[in-house]
Amino acid sequence: MSAHITLGEALRRRGVSRRGFLKFCTATASMMALPPTMVGAVAEALESAPRPSVIWLSFQECTGCTESLTRSHAPTVEGLIFDHISLDYHHTLQAASGDAAEEAREEAMHAHWGNYLLVVDGSIPLANPGYSTIAGMSNLDMLKESAEGAAAIIAVGSCAAFGGLPKAKPNPTGAVSVADIIKDKPIINVPGCPPVPSVMTGVLAHYLTFGTIPELDVYGRPKVFFGQNIHDRCYRRTFYDRGLFAKTFDDEGARKGWCLYRLGCKGPTTYNACATMKWNQGASWPIEAGHGCLGCSEPDFWDAGGFYRALSIPINDPAAAIGIGVVAGAAIGIASGAMAHRKKVEATHHREPLKVEQLEGKA
């Protein structure tokens, strides 16, 4: 597709009517979390938006972010990303590989120098460049080279945004985020493990529509999607406010849909759009499915003290080790707490590393 064509023209050429175009704008505005009054502005901007070039690099990652995005049914995902935005290079998705793929990247960089959008998923290993290479080139070198001619960078997923899982203690590969390396380009962080698909397409759509970087929070995340915490938008909040908590995953509270705070929900400290945008075409989201929020869009969520540990309970609290709400009386509480503490200390002393055979169920 020509680099000069606008989205309005592209849609008209495909036989899309004015009503179809307005519908497309309505869905795009909704995806960008813009108020409905902005549909007109979106339509006007998209009419004249030029086609940008996108280069997508994948480093130390699990492909979950790409899976999440390509499984999204956002209105525009095929049209927006593949036809219009034009993905000039994505080594996970494209048919070419090795030298041919690298040539495609270099060609796209050369043709759109200074103007292309660089999307990165995965963290970058600094301990040894050999931990992750593409066509023999280290992730660090490829990032630096590709970032140089980029207009802006979108770090997709918690690995690219914050180091993510590869950076979890003890961080064997010396993983770092994109922002740890690139200091002279605008970087939009879209964390999540993976990010909500419509948030990814929403950020891409914002850039495509307005050609600008959205307003970012202190972690470089677009405020429009990461400006409110899960807890404030959670439909279980009414139970939290009344002190009604599920204490196990199958008790009466769990069945009645009470708050999951005591089961380790990280909603109160997590900023993301899951409560409104949801997953699987809006079908549900983790808390609605009965599991607390893991806090996956926050830095170092993997090392935040345990997914099933309630937030305000200190990590070494003996009562927490045997579950909350069991303290029927002070004496019993102290005694059982002490026992649990002893057991925990013993377990720590006697802990043996898990073997691969055990994981595979052979031992």
Partner: protein
């Protein structure tokens, strides 16, 4: 209206917003749109809302980049507009408080084309030298 605990929290303010918007439409003609995708609905909230709104006299279907449904609720002036993709996946859902949702009106941009197309059709019918 039977509401669950969380529905009471989510839906009551929304119903008041709709009522207020309807008052503004009746008094000064001001239109209002609410994006239902942006609301933190819990399980069952949306069904309760739709049950409350019910259906009125108008139901329209559009076919442009997939289907769209435009339904007037049992309260004249409160419309539910739902957009689907070509694969039938829901893309957006809005409540429009208006006398006619914009999507139902013929776009100005297409009127000129329509005049041309009509003239062409007349010519093809034959003997229409005057068009």
């Amino acid at each position: 209206m039977n509401t669950t605990d969380h529905a009471a929290v989510t839906l009551r303010p929304l119903l008041h917003e709709i009522h207020h918007a309807l008052q503004r439409l009746a008094q000064v003609g001001e239109e209002h749109t609410i994006d239902l995708e942006a609301l933190p609905f819990g399980p069952g909230d949306e069904a309760l809302l739709l049950e409350f709104l019910g259906s009125g006299e108008v139901a329209a279907q559009l076919h442009a980049l997939g289907e769209s449904r435009v339904l007037e609720s049992r309260f004249p002036g409160v419309w539910l507009v739902t957009h689907f993709s070509e694969e039938g996946v829901r893309l957006a859902q809005q409540l429009e408080i208006t006398r006619t949702p914009a999507l139902l009106r013929t776009p100005q941009e297409e009127l000129g084309v329509a005049v041309e197309q009509f003239a062409q059709a007349l010519r093809e019918q034959g003997g229409a030298d005057d068009v």
